[in-house]
Symmetry: C2
Subunit: 213 residues, 2 copies
């Protein structure tokens, strides 16, 4: 009848499941979204989900993989690569995050915060498999930050003594914290209000960021 699927798209159900999982899990939480709801939202029967994925956890990990790929393509690479000053790149990055969170709040009524950080917080202390998968993505983000900082060192914007590994990690931590606060406020303005702290942390002379031996 109306359910015509003339081999039109291979893996259409799989894609629909990934998209539904993304929309629901990003705006809510892992435990509060059931596979029944994901299937309903995707227009797919539950059995099909278990044809494509071993279970909820694997579906979530595949969703995170695709989500990170989009984030890298749409935000990290265009925002952090290039020839501008580090200060401008940081500001562009904050604006991109603010735009994303604002649009999500307009579209779904909820400000999601960082999808990776959210799941790290919810599952980090009692689901080692998910924790490691999320940690991989956070490391990948950190690598982009470090690359931007290394470029700034090469261009003389930061002193050569800068520990870009440590600074990139601090950048991610502060960004995660900003998104936690924005989520607690449910207000994207919090991102703009706290955004300058990134510049203060990364661009100021930091004479004594000593590592523990």
């Amino acid at each position: 009848m109306d359910t015509a699927h003339p081999s039109s798209e291979r893996g259409a159900s799989r894609q629909a499941l990934l998209q539904a999982a993304r929309e629901l899990l990003v705006t809510r939480s892992y435990a509060s979204v059931g596979i029944a709801e994901i299937c309903e939202h995707a227009g797919v029967r539950k059995g099909s989900l278990y044809h494509f994925f071993p279970g909820k956890e694997a579906l979530t990990q595949a969703m995170l993989e695709a989500l990170y790929a989009d984030f890298e393509r749409d935000v990290l690479i265009p925002g952090l690569t290039g020839t501008g000053k580090l200060r401008d790149r940081i500001e562009a990055f904050v604006r991109a995050i603010h735009a994303f969170e604002s649009r999500m709040q307009t579209d779904t009524g909820r400000l999601p915060g960082c999808p990776f950080g959210n799941l790290a917080v919810e599952l980090g202390s009692h689901n080692p498999g998910m924790r490691r998968a999320i940690r991989r993505h956070l490391d990948a983000v950190t690598a982009h930050f470090r690359a931007a900082l290394d470029t700034a060192v090469r261009d003389g914007e930061l002193p050569p003594s800068t520990d870009t590994d440590a600074a990139a990690e601090q950048w991610l931590a502060l960004m995660e914290g900003i998104l936690v606060m924005a989520k607690a406020d449910q207000d994207p303005d919090t991102i703009l209000r706290l955004g300058p702290a990134l510049g203060a942390l990364l661009l100021n002379p930091t004479p004594e960021v000593r590592h523990e031996p």
Copy 2:
């Protein structure tokens, strides 16, 4: 029989429920801990829970209230009040957080992160009542940070132009972010590694922390 409760303690069940809720909710997550588990852990029947609390949400809010009171008494007041330099207070604060997270990991096998931030992340975008309750506690923490910064301004450790409101908010954001990362790592060393970023953010000359007009 063995269930002797000779009016020994008024509200003993209530306290047991609050304690069980704290131990379980702090180390896991709101949705993954059921009231049955809380009751079992407290040695109290489910009906009694609903005698003392309207439901799971109210129990959680009461638990957070008591948790914040302990946090204020044990960490905020002893760590941030006093005559020492701001740098020393910040370091003492980081060490206190590290000690708490380390002890929790030793005792329970899990590094919990910030209980308030965790719940803000899990429930912030789809439970307005809980979100507001959590936000109150985060504001209370910020007020302690601001008081410590105001003292530093008064003592000449920070320039009089310092926007201590904004700086306190940044302090909290970075602290939350550090705890997100530590939870993602499940490693308390992350707190010590990122801790110096607090000093870099709060103690350096920040000539241009401009507010949006």
